[in-house]
Symmetry: C2
Subunit: 260 residues, 2 copies
């Protein structure tokens, strides 16, 4: 399986912001309960020996070129990267309405949400090229929330990164449950993540004794600032190139520090 034959110019641009190296990609099938999931795996073509790995979780639009491109970018940087599938092959949304309904189901059922995220993590962990001691989880919007749920669930990973993810949860972190380092990258003008939500999140992780977290706020950035093509500022949603570029730099710093 390869990425779609034609990417949008914006996706081409972000992909090519990382110097090209040969990358091997594959579809990967696995299940979670009754659901069949299909992720998209990307790794350096020469992947010899165990490598650090990153699970990338999609936004509410599901398995799009965007997350596949992010996985390819990470593979170019030397990571084994799985664009994970939360919704499952039978429930990829075909419209914003379906996306909203699906995302709402997971936000309303934290147990299901965590199970799906952790199933993706297990699939990545099972890849023989992966150094299972050096894994991070990241995600965009809905997937950012999913990455934070992995942290709350105590997933045995080194790091968790949320790009403009919602910071609330139906099941706040319990004392000692979060062991991963957490990096929250958020838009200062994101109506879904107001400054009060950032403060509540900080109270949550501080209260749970989470050992290590950071929050970065970018000015003039709305929801989905790192999703090329997002363009509904009237709904508080828009791509913003500067915040995208800076958050990608912050991600690389974080992965370098946490995964080596």
């Amino acid at each position: 399986m390869t990425s779609a034959p034609t990417l949008t110019p914006e996706l081409e641009r972000i992909l090519d912001s990382v110097p090209a190296v040969p990358v091997a990609t594959d579809a990967l099938r696995y299940s979670c309960g009754d659901a069949e999931l299909e992720g998209y795996l990307a790794a350096p073509a020469d992947a010899a020996g165990p490598r650090p790995a990153v699970l990338v979780l999609h936004d509410w639009a599901g398995m799009t070129d965007h997350v596949r491109v992010r996985a390819q970018m990470l593979a170019r940087l030397g990571y084994v990267a799985l664009a994970g599938d939360v919704f499952g092959v039978d429930e990829q949304p075909a419209s914003p309405e379906e996306s909203a309904a699906l995302a709402g189901r997971y936000y309303g059922d934290v147990e299901l949400f965590r199970a799906r995220v952790l199933a993706n993590l297990d699939a990545l962990r099972a890849d023989p090229r992966v150094d299972t001691a050096r894994i991070a989880v990241m995600g965009y919007c809905f997937g950012g929330s999913g990455a934070l749920e992995a942290a709350r669930a105590g997933a045995d990973v080194r790091g968790v990164v949320s790009f403009h993810g919602g910071l609330g949860t139906g099941a706040p972190a319990e004392a000692g449950s979060v062991t991963a380092s957490v990096l929250v990258l958020t838009g200062a003008d994101d109506p879904m993540v107001p400054v009060s939500a950032v403060a509540e999140f900080q109270d949550e992780v501080r209260g749970a004794g989470a050992p290590d977290w950071q929050v970065v706020s970018y000015s003039d950035a709305l929801h989905a600032f790192a999703v090329p093509g997002a363009d509904a500022p009237e709904h508080g949603v828009a791509y913003q190139e500067t915040a995208d570029r800076r958050s990608w730099v912050a991600l690389q710093d974080f992965l370098r520090e946490r995964l080596g």
Copy 2:
């Protein structure tokens, strides 16, 4: 003029976190009104042609080895760096009480504070090795506040960085006054910079139409997290190695982006 012949082991460690290259250092005298100021200038020894430059503002302890070491670190990275003097040669504090009184005088007289910061900036700008189109201002604690005052005063610089600086001011930014990109690096547990102060700052710069700003919060970091040797957690003041290292990485990313 060279740095003090013996640095503390903590300052030696942060200095040597930047690969050594030959650096030329000098005392630099200039004035502001009736006050004589003496900064500490550091630049790559081979400084040929115009180079990007950084003004480093001291914390309330005044001209200490800490800011001299930061200037040396920046010089090793290729910048012309001036550890600037806000208090002046006749008023370097000799005790925490004197530091508090001095800092209080500047916090209470924004006009004086800005004049001193801008005098330092002029001194740096006058160095023939400096590319005056590529200058940033940064500072620690009191100096972080000073850097933000430079931004509010509309200083013609590309970037302003505050390390655990107080974010309040007696003269909030006016519409259009801030033109520099601003990076605020703050400790999530800094009692001098509670989450409410971060929110107020964001409201201030957003309201003034500041074009570009970022705020980074580090967990488990108190006031002075980037000042080696700071050790008064009972007063909310302590060095924290992880936040120091990360904030230095964030600084480098920012300078690379803003100054090239």
